[in-house]
């Protein structure tokens, strides 16, 4: 590990959608029915597991700096800083910007208690879908209720997009983050681009 830190390996990294960056830009639809797609690459992601009410849960909650969410859909923290998403009653995903290094302090906080702190940074990439038609694009292939009355800004759910299991995180009224596993990223991006294409034309009544 030490040798790797001495060489700047960050220049050698490729993100799951790096090869599609031009295609993603070209797929953007402008205007009233606009929608666009971009990858937020290389986020730091840490899987956390601890039973609510346990010492491990309390220790990890304090160590994240933003606590842990307590119910389905909840996200604590902010999307630009550290955020923790609820994945299950005792399972959470911490997402932080590239370069954040909360891993060792979380491991230290957990200590010998029963729980998990796992670096999952390379597991999922983040696709941001935004624009007035973003929800309409997602609704084509996501079975969850994405209406604002049940899917609020600052919440995230585990669901599917077409056949792909994803985390879906609503960060703004017209902005969604989709987190597919890295191996599904290419498919998911092309799937979304395909869903976006119709919004470049006038609607047919």
């Amino acid at each position: 590990m030490a040798e790797q830190v001495l060489t700047d390996i960050s220049a050698l990294r490729t993100s799951p959608l790096g090869h599609l960056s031009e295609t993603l830009k070209q797929g953007a639809v402008a205007g009233e029915r606009g929608v666009s797609l971009r990858e937020i690459a290389f986020t730091t992601q840490i899987g956390l597991r601890a039973e609510p009410g346990s010492a491990a849960h309390a220790a990890l909650s304090a160590a994240t700096g933003v606590h842990l969410p307590s119910a389905a859909g909840q996200v604590v923290g902010t999307e630009d800083g550290t955020a923790v998403l609820w994945l299950g009653p005792d399972e959470f995903l911490l997402v932080a910007p590239d370069g954040s290094e909360p891993f060792s302090s979380l491991v230290a906080a957990l200590g010998d208690e029963a729980g998990q702190v796992v670096d999952l940074s390379a597991n999922r990439t983040v696709i941001e879908l935004s624009g007035p038609s973003a929800r309409a694009v997602l609704e084509k292939s996501c079975p969850a209720d994405l209406h604002p009355r049940s899917f609020e800004i600052g919440s995230a759910i585990t669901t599917v997009l077409g056949p792909v299991p994803v985390l879906l995180w609503k960060t703004g009224e017209q902005t969604f983050r989709v987190l597919p596993r890295a191996s599904f990223a290419d498919y998911t991006a092309r799937w979304l681009l395909d869903g976006m294409a119709e919004f470049a034309s006038e609607p047919i009544d």
Partner: protein
């Protein structure tokens, strides 16, 4: 399309779930004492009632947790869902055996 209530996530589309068969099948006290017939019965023999049935479901595309449900096999209607370890809210013909709440 049908909505199934996950005890943790709330109502979600049935496509997010997997079916786990009959609930509350108690694991044998001492599996090594079972003969082949008894072992086969534990593994494969399940009741198939017409009406209320307690069964296991997993929210595989969501929180990935297993839970129990009471479903009417005639109407497909879910009468209740409950977390593992919680008491069965509605009596069925395959009601939990003594102490068996898995």
């Amino acid at each position: 399309m049908m909505l199934i209530e996950c005890p943790w996530c709330g109502p979600r589309n049935e496509t997010e779930y997997g079916y786990g068969g009959q609930a509350h099948v108690a694991y044998p006290e001492d599996p090594s004492t079972l003969n082949d017939n008894e072992w086969a019965k534990f593994l494969f023999y399940r009741t198939n009632p017409k009406g209320l049935f307690a069964e296991r479901w997993v929210h595989s595309a969501g929180c990935r947790r297993w839970f129990n449900a009471v479903r009417d096999t005639v109407t497909y209607e879910f009468k209740a869902v409950y977390k593992p370890g919680e008491p069965q809210p509605i009596t069925t013909t395959n009601a939990p055996a003594q102490g068996g709440t898995k």
